[in-house]
């Protein structure tokens, strides 16, 4: 003879059934309300879409180089390292001839601006073999033209001025290194704070990025994006 089961609790059944969808509905409503509170004001007071920077180069004055010729150097090779400490060393080896320092990209830009405003010093003769365009300028830094964005290009250039990769990091390792830093920029252009979103794993590289950000002075952002840069920041993705 089988043992009969105890009668089910009718109360318990009835209590559970209406509660579960109720909780789900409440959670859903909260998400919708919070989401709407967050998104709707942004839809009505939305800053213009932020664009990624594209680096603008001034195109050099010159003629396009015959692609069948071996290339020429865009700039002379970096000068030999500065003299080391003056430990007395008997040596009769010839030393490389002193080479004139090549202007940096920033200096070339400044020269070009000076020419544009009529404040230029007498210019040197451009290299007649320099690749460029017939519409270019002697101070140009690129053989071909690109288009760029304004403020983010300025941010890019300012950080790049201080972005130094230690040469002790091997070339092979440089191929794979990358790091992400989130930086908040104040209305005056000051970097309010920054934090690593992703470290590179190489202490020398990460230290160099810290130094670059600490040393960078930025121009004040345009009004339409100032609030966004202060509150949500900008992501800086570094590769060597």
């Amino acid at each position: 003879m089988s043992e009969s089961l105890p009668p089910k609790s009718v109360l318990a059944l009835e209590a559970r059934t209406p509660l579960t969808p109720g909780i789900a509905l409440a959670v859903l409503l909260h998400v919708v309300v919070f989401g709407a509170a967050l998104v709707l004001p942004r839809l009505f007071d939305r800053a213009p879409p932020l664009r990624k920077p594209i680096i603008a180069h001034m195109v050099a004055l010159g003629k396009p180089r015959d692609p069948h010729l071996l290339p020429r150097k865009e700039l002379a090779p970096p000068a030999a390292a500065a003299s080391p400490m003056t430990v007395p060393v008997p040596s009769s080896k010839p030393s490389p001839a002193p080479r004139k320092r090549e202007p940096t990209r920033q200096e070339l830009m400044q020269r070009a601006l000076a020419h544009a405003t009529g404040r230029a010093e007498p210019r040197e003769e451009p290299d007649p073999e320099r690749a460029g365009s017939a519409k270019g300028t002697p101070e140009g830094t690129a053989a071909t033209a690109e288009e760029g964005d304004a403020y983010f290009t300025a941010v890019h250039d300012a950080i790049l001025e201080n972005y130094v990769v230690p040469s002790v990091i091997s070339e092979r390792e440089r191929l794979y290194l990358s790091a992400s830093v989130l930086a908040w920029i104040g209305p005056g252009g000051q970097i309010l704070k920054h934090e690593f979103q992703k470290k590179s794993g190489n202490a020398f590289f990460d230290q160099a990025l810290e130094l670059a950000i600490q040393r960078t002075k930025l121009p004040p952002p345009p009004a339409e994006i100032a609030k966004s840069l202060r509150d949500t920041g900008v992501v800086l993705n570094f590769k060597p």
């Binding site: 909260h30 998400v31 919070f34 989401g35 967050l38 998104v39 942004r42 932020l50 664009r51 990624k52 920077p53 692609p67 069948h68 010729l69 071996l70 290339p71 020429r72 150097k73 090779p77 970096p78 030999a80 390292a81 080391p84 400490m85 003056t86 430990v87 007395p88 060393v89 009769s92 080896k93 010839p94 030393s95 490389p96 941010v155 890019h156 790049l160 972005y163 130094v164 990769v165 230690p166 040469s167 002790v168 990091i169 091997s170 070339e171 092979r172 989130l182 020398f204 670059a212 994006i225 966004s228 840069l229 949500t232 900008v234 992501v235 800086l236 993705n237 570094f238 590769k239 060597p240």
Partner: protein
């Protein structure tokens, strides 16, 4: 909820990609040596030159140092070193009991105030330079995690009144030792174990043939006596085979042989000259020069002679390929439109050509350091042809030799066997 908020915020953030940071040397201070001064100063001098040549370090001017000259090996006032811009600090203390020199050498991280390296190095007084080279190698290896080359040797051809002789020297040009007499000897090439050097010689009076010389005993042996023109032997990375060029039936081709000179077979068979073979670091491919398309250009092929592909299309005279130890680049010398030979690299994948030298005399015969960080080459920029070195981007070019009548045909030796 928090996750959703974070996602919304992240989606709104602009992203700036930064690459192409300036590669800058690591600022390093070398404190005045402690202990026996003449030994300490001599070791420090060689170390300074090694670091300077490496392009990795910027040595700070000792005149700017704020720390006491008598500051010990330990108990360092790091703030004084930080104040002069040092990120690394080297301390040396040498002792010279009898004919031996013993140096305690240390590397410190100034920013974090910690010792990074510490070792004691001994050598006979006559070989004191080796102390600096060994510590220098340890420092470079610490930073780069790559093999360092301060203890490597180079071979080259020295011009003399009597002719051209094969010599070996330390990588910095010091400690030169002749290996052969001075007939016409050319194109030295190391075996991977660094014990033997193959070279091309006219010593037998029957044309050009390939010989070997023992780098220690200087014993010379014939290796290839084929025909009246056999030249340019280069050993495979495994040391079991070598390539050379030889002229048979008025056609110069590339041949492959076992290391003892046996079982030679022809790899190329084109109507034009095929010459100047160079192995890829994995020994599976070969770069060479061929005139098959009308002008000398750089080609690559599989180690069995199949799968030939032209690599250079710019310029009308490209020669002397040298495959980099990292495998990605082939250095070569090319004649530009001014009919001057200069150094270039070509990317094995993609074929992008980069110029390394320009407006500095004639520059030829590139040979890679075994870690791929430097190239040795010959240059006439100072008058007589001498050996110079450069980094693969063309930076940090420095003279290596100062031979009275000139030097050419450099061959950078292998890394020393690990002890």
């Amino acid at each position: 909820m928090i996750f959703l908020l974070a996602l919304l915020l992240a989606a709104e953030r602009p992203v700036i990609d930064l690459s192409g940071g300036r590669v800058q040397a690591y600022p390093l201070a070398m404190a005045r040596p402690l202990g026996v001064q003449d030994a300490g100063i001599a070791v420090q001098s060689v170390l300074s030159q090694d670091f300077e040549r490496s392009g990795l370090f910027k040595l700070l001017d000792p005149a700017s140092f704020l720390a006491r000259p008598t500051e010990g090996l330990t108990n360092i006032d790091y703030s004084k070193w930080q104040a002069v811009g040092a990120q690394g600090l080297i301390k040396i203390s040498c002792d010279a009991p009898g004919a031996e020199v013993k140096c305690d050498m240390r590397l410190y991280d100034v920013a974090h105030g910690v010792e990074l390296l510490h070792g004691t190095y001994n050598a006979p007084r006559a070989a004191m330079r080796q102390i600096a080279h060994r510590f220098g190698d340890d420092v470079v290896r610490y930073f780069t995690h790559e093999p360092a080359i301060f203890q490597t040797r180079i071979a080259y051809v020295r011009e003399t009144e009597q002719g051209k002789q094969i010599v070996v020297a330390d990588q910095d040009g010091a400690n030169v030792q002749p290996l052969t007499g001075a007939s016409i000897n050319l194109l030295p090439a190391w075996t991977p174990d660094g014990r033997t050097i193959a070279f091309t010689s006219f010593r037998d009076g029957l044309g050009a043939h390939v010989y070997t010389v023992d780098a220690v005993t200087r014993q010379v042996r014939p290796l290839v006596l084929m025909g009246d023109f056999a030249t340019g032997a280069v050993y495979a990375p495994d040391g079991l085979r070598f390539l050379f060029s030889a002229s048979l039936d008025d056609n110069t081709d590339i041949y492959l042989s076992q290391a003892d000179g046996s079982a030679g077979r022809r790899l190329t068979d084109s109507r034009g000259i095929d010459i100047s073979a160079s192995w890829s670091p994995d020994g599976k491919r070969i770069a060479f020069v061929s005139e098959r398309a009308g002008s000398p250009q750089i080609y690559i092929m599989a180690a069995d002679g199949s799968d030939v592909r032209r690599l250079t299309f710019q310029g009308n005279y490209n020669q002397e390929p040298a495959w980099s130890p990292k495998g990605d680049l082939i250095a070569f010398s090319g004649r530009d439109e001014h009919r001057i030979f200069d150094l270039y690299t070509v990317a094995v994948e993609g074929g992008k050509v980069t110029r390394l030298t320009q407006n500095q005399g004639t520059n030829e015969k590139p040979s890679w350091a075994p870690n791929g960080r430097y190239l040795l080459f010959s240059s006439t920029r100072g008058g007589k042809r001498q050996l110079w070195e450069t980094q693969p981007d063309g930076s940090n070019q420095r003279a290596v030799t100062s031979e009275r009548m000139g030097a050419s045909d450099p061959a950078w030796g292998p890394l020393p066997a690990s002890k």
